[in-house]
């Protein structure tokens, strides 16, 4: 081999030992292999000074040197890059036990969450959502719902009056009357909203949320109420949940029932949540009283219906294990941030 070529090879080998970074490798490589400009490229220009009979051998030698240098420096480059990558990772070694960066995301209020869940279930059953007025007249809140002035049921609810005629609705049922006055059956509405009663302790708030459902159509019976409730409790509390109806009293339904569902905590065997009874009271319901239909101009000989009312706070409190209703209205971030779905 041409001594010159051998010299370049040695120059590369010894020079490579000095290299410490891929950048240096790149610069070093450029010194020898940069098209026609590098030292090896220059060797080709020497060709004209080589004796013709040696030219073939010389050319071959240069090419071999070039191939070798490409391979040798390429390998070095890969090694160097690997080393550098490793070093970069090591430099970025962190304490993974440090606190997480805050991901800012708020929550819907638990009342909204429960409300949405119920709305989803009942929307699927064909219920429209109707939000009535919060300030109502005595007529819509009581009289039209078969609760005239002297009716004992008025004692069941302590009403906030705004004037002799106007009041804060004590029940979302008030909205039923507006709907029935303004539309013809079939009626299938779900009426969520704020209601107000003069009551204030650990389980009662002067403002709370109800969700009233109403179905009026031909041939509606108590069995339909039972069937709908069965679907509802299974969707909200799980497939195995059972319902139990027992007699109760509301002026606007007859028969009236209180609806219990098998305790979703213990499955009905009795626990602290259900106070050992295996049942949890979830809502009041009944067949719409004909007097209410008549008050709204709906012929009870043609149509019948059922209605039910659910307390949203109670449902939310059961769901999240909240023991004081006040917590729902105090907007304490320590509370709100826990109550996500």
């Amino acid at each position: 081999m041409n001594a010159n070529l051998e010299q370049i090879k040695q120059e590369i080998i010894s020079g490579a030992e000095e290299l410490t970074s891929s950048k240096e490798v790149y610069e070093f490589k450029k010194k020898f292999l940069d098209g026609k400009a590098g030292k090896i490229g220059m060797l080709m220009k020497e060709m004209k000074n080589i004796a013709p009979q040696e030219r073939a051998a010389y050319g071959k030698g240069v090419n071999e040197l070039k191939e070798w240098a490409l391979g040798f420096l390429g390998e070095l480059d890969v090694k160097m890059k690997e080393k550098e990558l490793q070093a970069r990772y090591e430099a970025e070694k962190i304490d993974i036990s440090l606190p997480a960066a805050e991901e800012k995301e708020g929550n819907l209020h638990p009342i909204t969450l429960v409300r949405n869940q119920l709305i989803d279930i009942f929307s699927g059953m064909g219920f429209e959502i109707y939000e009535g007025r919060e300030i109502e007249t005595d007529y819509y809140n009581f009289t039209a719902l078969n609760t005239p002035q002297d009716h004992p049921a008025r004692d069941m609810q302590d009403t906030f009056y705004l004037s002799p005629e106007f009041l804060l609705r004590t029940q979302t049922s008030a909205g039923q009357i507006h709907v029935m006055e303004n539309s013809k059956p079939p009626i299938k509405i779900l009426s969520p909203g704020k209601v107000f009663r003069s009551d204030d302790d650990a389980t009662h708030s002067p403002m709370f949320t109800q969700m009233e459902g109403l179905v009026v159509d031909k041939g509606i019976t108590l069995c339909d109420l039972q069937g709908m409730l069965d679907v509802f409790v299974k969707k909200i509390y799980g497939e195995g949940t059972k319902t139990r109806l027992r007699p109760s009293y509301f002026p606007f339904t007859e028969p009236s029932v209180e609806v219990d569902c098998s305790c979703f905590e213990c499955g009905g065997t009795g626990c602290k949540l259900c106070k050992g009874t295996g049942w949890i009271e979830i809502l009041g319901a009944g067949v719409v009283n004909n007097k209410v239909l008549e008050n709204c101009g709906i012929d009870p000989n043609e149509y019948s219906g059922f209605a039910f009312g659910i307390g949203i706070e109670r449902t939310a409190m059961l769901k999240y294990g909240i023991n004081n209703i006040k917590l729902l209205f105090e907007s304490d971030l320590r509370v709100l941030s826990q109550l996500n779905d």
Partner: protein
């Protein structure tokens, strides 16, 4: 309704356990809220006979050998003064539970378990008991009130459990009665239901009596207010001897929590509990004018009631008067002037129906509640007034404390006390329930409920008892049938005959939910605050007297002043929520609420007020600023697919220079800004707070706006960075507005730097913008964009003297 089992058994043979009865009552609509044995705390107490009783020297104690039959004979030390050889007393054996008493031997201080003891060196294996220690009062068992040992009858079987003989094995049912069943507000009323649900015979209380010839000649009853008093009956009783009631009556009254007073008064109380009819007895000698007159009180009229309080009445109250003066506040309490005394020798009984609402209002207005008013408030029926009078006269005879005279006056403008005929269609009853109840079941149920049913084809013919004022239609009958037949017979169905409906949220509801979710994704938590607020909140916000927000609707009967007004702004509740959070150490956070404000058209209300949905956002913390709040406003605008514009404004509770009015397509929709420092200080806020309130009712006009897709530009966009120098008073918004107006190709302007300082004149600032130009129909040339920039600079110079920074 407190109901002792032993008393119920007077009218029905009950052969099931108390727990089984509880379940039966529950299934037919009577929830037993509490069920307990009278002697639930007493156990292992037996009859013992003192065989020997030796005094322990220098003490008041005795050491006794007590024979307890099968349990053995025990040495027991006893300090009671009536312990004596041969006497039979209750013995609490070792391991027994009885009530512990204080030093006075009268006050119960919990339950104790008896252990072996040693007194003055004498071992003691048990305790001889007093009535108090067993929870037995004098009224429950004669002699039990003695402050010493309870003496048991001589024939008591030695070693037997004392509970049955003291009535401690009785059970108390506390039963919830729904508002439609006032007829069950009595032991007998409950008994009727128990008889029906058990299918047993109902035994009527004795109502018979014999009248003498005595009469009050010329005696008259007049009712001036038949609307408030549909029935008033009075009966004269002579030869009255006031004394103690018999033990059985005192015991029953004690079980329901009433102290025995005297035979005549006890009879009225007994009937109140037994039949649910309040009665009153007047001392006849105190009545003047030989008459009873029921009327509304005169305004300012006074009466002194039995409890020696003088009340001033008005026209809304009702009084019972003799021929001269008021002698009772109707339905609430008798007058002191006519009360039964030891010397009473003739009595006039009253049994009346008063309007429930009138008694309720009067009782509340004068602040006086009695067993009688509590009962009247729930409603009594005419049937009970008649039955109760008969029962009272019977008891007068039975107790031997008077003679029933002839004089009976009954003023009746109310309902008949005879059963009413009602015919309903069996088919409709079944269609209401959705099942077919066999006819024989219906007959059985209605028979048990005393409706005397018969069936004729589809007709169910009934005689509705007079006390069932709640039963009017086939729906009521359906309820009677199913509550007795059992709700477990209801078969779930899913509206097979109903039409299909399509449900779901409407546009407004959907949009509000989208807004809420958008705010949650920006780190805000939804809150719900009371719809009411305080006049102090309006003062805190310094709302001017003439502002609409001051014109809040007032609750006539608020729980407290803090929640006495209907909200006219959500800002106050939000500021208070921020303050509460800071007090608890939450120094940064984001909150929002969607709720109504209530704007009246006039006060007092004569029409529905405007209920307007508002959105209120409250943010606080060192990292929050006017601009972070502006970012939330932008987020809301984007969610609604609208554009907000902002104008500087000031209001009474926000920072004068960090408050913006929010406009949407030229309409004012709300405001936001930094909470004023003095308010923040007054609320002890430790970090800056910002409030935004938007009127969703106004915004709802754009709720149907959809996101519109703009095709991507066909030709490349160009952007230029422009550093501009302007007077410090020129706003970013003003510059952007001029730029946009001077070139239609501008699609986006972004401010990326503001500089004030040495490198430019003192009254100037430098603002650097990136301006993006989007071509429309043809591509830009290098010259065209330069041309636009030149034009923009020219317009800026003209409008505000703005120059390119050199």
């Amino acid at each position: 309704m407190i109901t002792p089992l032993s008393w119920l058994k007077e009218y029905v043979d009950i052969d099931i356990t108390p727990q089984e009865l509880q379940d039966k009552l529950f299934s037919c609509g009577f929830e037993v809220e509490e069920l307990y044995e009278v002697g639930k705390d007493i156990s292992k107490v037996v009859v013992g006979k003192v065989m020997t009783c030796e005094p322990i020297p220098e003490t008041h104690l005795h050491v006794c050998q007590v024979d307890c039959g099968e349990h053995g004979t025990f040495q027991i030390c006893c300090g009671a003064d009536n312990v004596a050889t041969g006497g039979k007393f209750p013995v609490a054996l070792v391991g027994a539970t009885v009530y512990a008493t204080a030093k006075d031997h009268k006050t119960v201080e919990g339950v104790m378990t008896i252990g072996k003891g040693k007194l003055r060196g004498y071992e003691s294996f048990g305790m001889l008991c007093s009535g108090v220690e067993l929870g037995v009062s004098e009224n429950m068992f004669p002699g039990a009130g003695y402050n010493g040992l309870l003496v048991l009858p001589e024939d008591a079987e030695i070693g037997a459990d004392v509970k049955p003989m003291l009535g401690l094995d009785d059970w108390i049912f506390d039963i919830a009665i729904t508002a439609n069943r006032p007829d069950c507000q009595s032991i007998f009323g409950i008994a009727r239901e128990v008889a029906a649900v058990l299918g047993k015979e109902l035994k009527m209380p004795a109502l018979d009596y014999t009248e003498t010839d005595a009469e009050l000649s010329g005696f008259k009853v007049s009712v001036d207010c038949p609307d408030l008093c549909p029935r008033y009956s009075a009966h004269y009783v002579t030869d009255v001897t006031i004394g103690e009631s018999p033990a059985w009556m005192k015991r029953r009254l004690a079980l329901v929590g009433i102290d025995a007073i005297s035979n005549v008064v006890d009879i009225t109380n007994y009937i109140l509990k037994e039949l649910g009819q309040p009665m009153h007895a007047f001392d006849l000698s105190t009545l003047e004018g030989n008459a009873i007159n029921v009327r509304r009180a005169a305004d300012g009229e006074k009466i002194v009631t039995l409890d020696e309080q003088e009340l001033t009445l008005n026209n809304a109250n009702m009084v019972i008067c003799d021929g001269v003066k008021p002698v009772a506040l109707a339905g609430v309490m008798g007058g002191l002037n006519s009360e039964i005394r030891e010397t009473t020798s003739a009595v006039l009984f009253e049994s009346a129906k008063f309007a429930r609402d009138n008694i309720r209002r009067t009782s509340r207005a004068v602040g006086k509640r009695s067993d009688s008013s509590a009962r009247y408030e729930k409603g009594v029926d005419e049937y009970a007034t008649v039955m109760a009078m008969k029962r009272a006269l019977h008891l007068i005879e039975e107790l031997g404390c008077g003679k029933v005279a002839k004089t009976h006056v009954d003023v009746n403008t109310g309902n008949s006390v005879e059963p009413r005929a009602l015919t309903v269609s069996i088919d409709r009853v079944n269609k209401c329930l959705g099942i077919v109840v066999p006819n024989e079941e219906i007959l059985k149920i209605m028979t048990n409920l005393c409706f005397e049913p018969s069936i004729d084809g589809d007709d169910l013919k009934l005689m509705v008892p007079a006390y069932r004022e709640d039963v009017e239609t086939y729906q009521d009958i359906a309820e009677e049938v199913i509550r007795m037949y059992g709700y477990e017979h209801v078969v779930p169905a899913f509206m097979p005959s109903a039409q299909v409906t399509i449900g779901g949220l409407n546009q407004v509801q959907k949009t509000e939910l989208r807004l809420k979710k958008a705010l949650c994704s920006a780190g805000a938590y939804e809150c719900i605050h009371y719809s009411f607020f305080s006049p102090a909140d309006l003062d805190m916000l310094r709302i001017p007297e003439e502002a609409a927000e001051r014109n809040a609707i007032r609750i006539m009967n608020p729980i407290s002043e803090e929640i006495s007004l209907m909200r006219t702004t959500l800002a106050a509740s939000m500021i208070n929520a921020i303050a509460r959070n800071q007090k608890k150490g939450n120094l940064a956070g984001r909150l929002f609420e969607i709720g109504n404000v209530y704007m009246p058209y006039e006060l007092p209300l004569t029409q529905y007020p405007d209920e307007k949905a508002r959105l209120c956002v409250g943010i606080f913390g060192e990292n929050e600023s006017f601009y972070t709040m502006k970012g939330l406003a932008q987020k809301i605008a984007e969610t609604l697919h609208v554009t907000f514009e902002y104008e500087a404004m000031s209001n009474t509770f926000l920072h004068p220079y960090q408050t913006a009015k929010v406009l949407c397509e030229g309409n004012e929709v709300g405001y936001f800004g930094k909470l004023a420092y003095d308010i923040a200080d007054a609320k002890d806020l430790r970090t800056p707070a910002f409030v935004m309130e938007l009127d969703l009712k106004v915004l709802s006009q754009w709720y149907d706006k959809k996101a519109v897709f703009t095709p991507l530009p066909k030709f490349p966009e160009e952007s230029r960075d422009l550093a501009l120098v302007a007077d410090r008073s020129i706003t970013c918004g003003e510059i952007e507005k001029v730029m946009k107006e001077s070139c239609k190709y501008i699609s986006k302007i972004t401010l990326f730097d503001i500089y004030e300082g040495e490198q430019i004149a003192a009254d100037k600032k430098s603002m650097a913008f990136t301006v993006v130009f989007t071509p429309k129909n043809e591509a830009f040339t290098a010259e065209s964009v330069d041309g636009y920039v030149k034009k923009i600079l020219k317009q800026l110079g003209k409008a505000y003297g703005v120059e390119l920074r050199s």
